[in-house]
């Protein structure tokens, strides 16, 4: 069975989804969702172990050899991503039972898990496939299911947010399919590896450049690079808590992977970065995201929305790492992708606990919450410290490599801007701390209880991971630097 892992981990949740619809039972659907998530985790860990020595797994679907058939291609980079996605999914799904029970109407529970399974299948599919069109298909599967998931939020504004995301996401997907189409036109292949091999032989550069531009904009819409992030804050703020945690930790991260894949594995450095000032554009937009989104975060009146803006800023750190286009820079970007996923998953999960008890997470309502929910509040403090980049958290490791990459590239002023921007994180994180700890709890808050254990434990698992990988980053930095080396190898 092991040779079929690359496809099984995608197919299992994909099959589970219609089964859930047929069963029409929330509890059964949840069990199925747990089963497929954990199965995906086991399989992705096995895949990571297989490619750890630098090998590449090529899986031909239906035994049609590539480049004619669809190829699934697992190397160090996407194996790393698969583990991330399935790990987050496995933790979130345990948490989801209590949270969904509170936030989603009972008769829609099985639909929720259906959409969740589809979204997981889509994300895993995007990550493992080696085929351009297949990638688009999975992108649509994950996107459409996430529109539904967001719309399930109990706030009516969730519908508007979902619609906004639908429009923006569809534009993004369209751009991506146009880009892939142009590349198909010029190379005659949809297999990404094959495409990479044929691209240097293409004489007419203009359509290739157009493809690059379409793909860049399309993917950057999906990964919410500033200023294409407009869909994200509302979507995160009004979606059900579970959905926010899951999407924040996985969806944008997978999109970053897609960008990496196209830039490094398909276009290769020579044509792309030489022909267009991609590096500078990425650099400027990343810096803008870091400063502008963090500043906007400071002025939010809803904690979830504040952390959503923080996500936009943190995505800026990831793309900043990529913009250095060096081994250290890529390592920084990839390791921050992992670290930020852990941090934000933890934070949104903890906020979900508050939302469960209180019904919302607006600043004006959560005063003094630390008295009644001490574990949740302290977890949020620790997650916040990781966002700031305090040592002994994963955020510190990311920042260390980002600054190092900046200094290596000789741009000391960028290094300085990186450390300076973390001051903004201090401000918005400490706003939560002060409200949670210093305000007197009002009558509603005073009556609340701590979040249930089945939500608290998964959240604290994530917090524990934030601290563990902050103290011993051999696995994460090791994996990221290998992935970076593999990406650059494909280029040079």
């Amino acid at each position: 069975m092991a040779p079929h892992f690359p496809i099984l981990q995608v197919v299992l949740p994909l099959i589970a989804a219609p089964v859930m619809v047929l069963m029409r039972r929330g509890a059964v659907a949840w069990l199925l969702a747990v089963a497929v998530s954990w199965a995906a985790l086991v399989m992705s860990l096995a895949l990571l172990a297989q490619v750890a020595d630098g090998g590449v797994i090529s899986y031909a679907i239906g035994n049609w050899p590539p480049p004619w058939g669809i190829e699934y291609r697992i190397d160090r980079i996407n194996a790393f991503l698969l583990v991330l996605v399935s790990l987050i999914a496995s933790v979130v799904v345990i948490y989801s039972r209590a949270s969904v029970a509170a936030e989603v109407p009972r008769e829609q529970h099985y639909l929720f898990y259906t959409m969740y399974a589809l979204c997981l299948a889509g994300l895993l599919g995007i990550t493992s496939t080696g085929d351009g069109f297949n990638l688009f298909v999975f992108l649509e599967i994950s996107s459409l299911s996430s529109y539904v998931l967001i719309a399930l939020g109990r706030d009516r504004r969730a519908l508007m947010a979902s619609y906004q995301y639908l429009i923006m996401g569809t534009i993004g997907a369209t751009f991506i399919v146009i880009g892939v189409g142009l590349l198909y036109l010029m190379t005659g292949t949809l297999n990404l590896a094959d495409m990479a091999a044929r691209l240097p032989g293409v004489n007419d550069a203009r359509p290739v450049l157009a493809a690059l531009a379409f793909l860049t904009v399309g993917i950057c819409l999906k990964l919410a690079l500033f200023p294409l992030h407009l869909w994200l804050p509302n979507a995160y703020a009004y979606a059900p808590s579970v959905v926010t945690a899951f999407l924040a930790a996985t969806a944008t991260k997978v999109s970053v992977y897609v960008l990496l894949r196209f830039y490094y594995s398909v276009f290769g450095e020579s044509t792309v970065f030489a022909a267009l000032p991609m590096r500078d554009i990425l650099l400027v937009l990343s810096l803008a995201a870091m400063f502008i989104a963090s500043t906007v975060a400071i002025f939010q009146d809803n904690v979830k929305r504040m952390f959503a803006y923080s996500s936009v800023a943190q995505i800026g750190y990831i793309t900043l790492g990529l913009s250095f286009d060096s081994a250290t820079g890529l390592t920084a970007g990839i390791v921050h992708l992992f670290n930020h996923a852990l941090t934000k998953a933890a934070l949104f999960l903890l906020l979900g606990g508050v939302a469960l008890r209180l019904g919302g997470v607006r600043f004006e309502n959560i005063g003094g919450i630390a008295r009644v929910m001490p574990f949740t509040a302290f977890g949020i403090v620790l997650g916040g410290l990781s966002l700031i980049g305090v040592p002994a958290t994963v955020g510190f490791v990311s920042k260390w490599y980002l600054v190092l990459a900046a200094l290596e590239s000789g741009a000391w002023w960028i290094a300085f801007l990186i450390v300076l921007s973390s001051l903004l994180a201090v401000v918005y994180v400490w706003r939560v701390v002060e409200v949670a700890y210093f305000r007197e709890p009002d009558a509603t808050v005073a009556k609340l209880k701590e979040a249930p254990l089945e939500m608290l434990i998964p959240s604290w698992l994530m917090i524990a991971a934030c601290i563990y990988f902050g103290l011993d980053s051999a696995l994460t930095v090791g994996g990221a630097s290998q992935a970076a080396a593999a990406l650059l190898q494909g280029v040079r």
Partner: protein, 489 residues
Amino acid sequence: MTPAATIIAALVVPLIGAVLIAAAHRAPNARETVTLVTAALLFLLVVSLTPAVLAGGRPGVTLLAVMPGLALKFEVEPLGMLFGLIASGLWIVNSLYSIGYMRGNNEAHQTRYYVCFAGALASAMGIAFAGNLLTLFLFYEALTLITYPLVTHHGTPEAMRAGRLYLGLLVGSSIVFLLFAIIWTWQTTGTIDFVQGGILGGKVTNAATGVLLALYVFGIGKAAVMPVHRWLPAAMVAPTPVSALLHAVAVVKAGVFSVLKIVVYVFGVDAIAGVTSVDWLPFAAGFTIIAASIVALRSDNLKRRLAYSTVSQLSYVVLAAALLTPWSIVGAALHIATHALGKITLFFAAGAIYTAAHKTEVSQLDGIGRRMPWTMSAFAIGSLSIIGLPPAVGFVSKWYILSGAMATGQWGAVAVLVAGTLLSAGYLLPIVYRAFFLSPAHAGGHHEAYGEAPLTMVVALSASAFGTVALFFYPEALLALSRQLAGVG
């Protein structure tokens, strides 16, 4: 126990203490016993490391690989030994004092207070024994964060504002300047270990050395070199034993300790002796000494006066380090210890006055020495130490700093040191004079009845005053460690 195990124990014991303190939150007597036992145990652990270090050993241990090639690493060298001894020794006295103060003033959240205190000591041990900049930085930040609940202990809007300033300046300066400097050092030298003779020598240009030094000095906000000193007076809103922790036991000491350690082990005294771009440092330190002393002179609030006195005294350490002579380095290391003893005595006295008589302003202290003779005698001894007069230990450190300055003919520094001494006499001696020689004002003719503060407080402040005098006569251990640091046999 092997030295490595002792080092780990010194980090873990306060943390276990913290857990036990939290567990005993319903039984205050058991809780305070845990604090005292933990403090004593920690001190014994640190003392047990001393013979090996005095014999020239450098016990160490490497734990987790935080990042590839960068480990959490501990190594005990003379300066760290000195700081470890001071912090752990004063924790015992401070705990005794805290018990009297916290109960005497009916403070809320006492369990949280003792837990954070133990956590602060664990962080201080981590700073003292750090074997590289990464470890130092980690525990430096931990110390800031764990002391935040102490500074904001009262939970009032004023405490919250002070907390903002405290956290903003300390975390801000450290993540913007200090972290930047550390990564820069790592990027240029490929190491951030503390090495005798420094690691930067010959690796960075003249101009870059000066910039790097500035990033370190101002990045270490805990050293309170102006203008990053504002957090210290603001933090005075905390209960007095916390001020003692900030000023004497751990926080500011961790700051000047880090500056001195970085000058000696990262820059290397000899390596930067001829570098012109670092010449700004004596001026910055000298300015802080004088300016802070003048502010202290003009403050009527006792704790504020003591706070600015600390800002000024800390820059003695920075100035001594900046003089870059072996004797001044000896003086700098000694001054960390001597100022700690003197200042903790002064804060203890200020807290005792507040607890017993509810007085906070210098102008209210007329004749208080007659009602609180122990407290004010201790205050007088502490003052002598801060001014640098015998028979208090402060004299010893100032002597070395001054000899270093004179031996190398740095007359500007000599002038600053003399002026600083006069100013400190000017802001401390009048308090002693008022307390003992002026008769109490009887406002409205009504007579207030108060005597000494609770017993544990008086014991604690007498002990620290006694230590201030005793170390003047027996400074051998401190001297031996400081001389080893400076490499003068």
